[in-house]
Symmetry: D2
């Protein structure tokens, strides 16, 4: 299941609502992170271990489409997959939908660099790349 | 200055940092909102007034590029501009940089629908469109 | 189990850490809310239903003791109980500890007023008071 | 003015509201931190410098009374003072009120331990204690 999809269930917190009565837009990025976290655990490489082995994944790009409302206490599913993007980046694609109805809430992706603890870019080690499903095929 | 750029100064809060020692990625969306808020006030149409006159601007898309680090207590500038995008959408472009050095931190945009209080899409009224610099020219 | 303790399990999110490497202090109040939410569901009265039946519980006081560290990805348990406090207030007591070791993280309480939708204090209806275990005995 | 009160002005962000239409309760703790930050700068000892000189101030207790509503875009003032509490703790007292009317929003305090970078309690150095107004008189 190294490169499959991981499903994470969350419940909209009161603190995540805003005065429009739906979730505040920045929370979507926090939910995507919950999805990444669970995805790493599912592929056998908890992100705490990634960092403790000296690989950090600072975000360099994020894109979100807001597809539908979600309200306080709604149960949502974050569906996440990941793949290397080039030699030194990781891309996560995610969609968030209502657990019961499947109605879409958010779609998006984030792209992350691979760095060492000092913030300097590194070529990610094999144990990391392998867990993410390997390097992408080279364009010929 | 109705359609120029608005500069908003913020300071990175301790609550906005994460264990990597820089700001947590979702905070960028909150800072973009601070920029939109100040931009509306600057063009003479505080967003509180927009909502009290019955126009809401739920976000439908966001894109962020993370360009550099920012740490606790750093002073940042959010530079924001806005324009109608088609007949019923508003697009805000923003860049965030360090106040002292100008070093880039974030670049991004958000796109917002225009709705009434019930969440139903509306064609935005003239007072709103005019404040945003008018409708875009039609492609011929 | 109307007036027992409810146990809610949460996992510390990356977004909840700060540069000190532990959770940011304000997150404790958000976790207490997760506990209240789950407690209401457990006693058969989801808080969404409380609000939809016209009872709101704005917070009027909070007290937190920080007892220990918790780090990104740690699993925590929020143990919550609730009782009427006087005729028109509700008090929630909570403690948060590490799921595996039981080591304490946070202890605290919040006190909430009962209001109608307009924010005006109300005497809470019987269905609400009964779910919370009834009115406290009067001092003689 | 080493030990006087510091006034910090903030504006309620959209992200700080919740579906009740006022600020979400945990934001109060973030605002208190904004006040502490500004207070340290005002007494000539920015908190970034405190940490870079090896003194950390993890929170050990917080108490908040919610005194009134504040809505999106309201301008608030955080009035903060600080003093040593015993030999190795610092206590900050704060009140938050509406800038225009002075109407109260929040009153509270936080108590912080003094630790080194490893999290171990330390007796705070003189430069720190002096900036905070000195050690409290000993009870006789």
């Amino acid at each position: 299941m190294a490169n499959g999809e991981t499903v994470t269930t969350i419940r909209v917190r009161y603190s995540e609502t805003d005065q429009m009565g739906t979730f505040y837009n920045a929370r979507a990025l926090e939910w995507l992170e919950c999805g990444r976290n669970e995805h790493f655990r599912t592929i056998g490489l908890p992100y705490t271990e990634v960092e403790s082995r000296g690989v950090f994944l600072p975000i360099i790009e994020a894109h979100i489409r807001y597809r539908g409302r979600a309200r306080y206490d709604d149960e949502l599913q974050v569906v996440t997959r990941a793949a290397m993007s080039g030699n030194a980046r990781v891309r996560f694609d995610a969609r968030i939908c209502h657990r019961a109805s499947g109605a879409p809430v958010v779609e998006g992706y984030t792209i992350h660099a691979c760095t060492g603890g000092s913030g300097r870019p590194i070529r990610p080690p094999d144990w990391f790349v392998d867990a993410l499903g390997g390097r992408p095929p080279r364009a010929s």
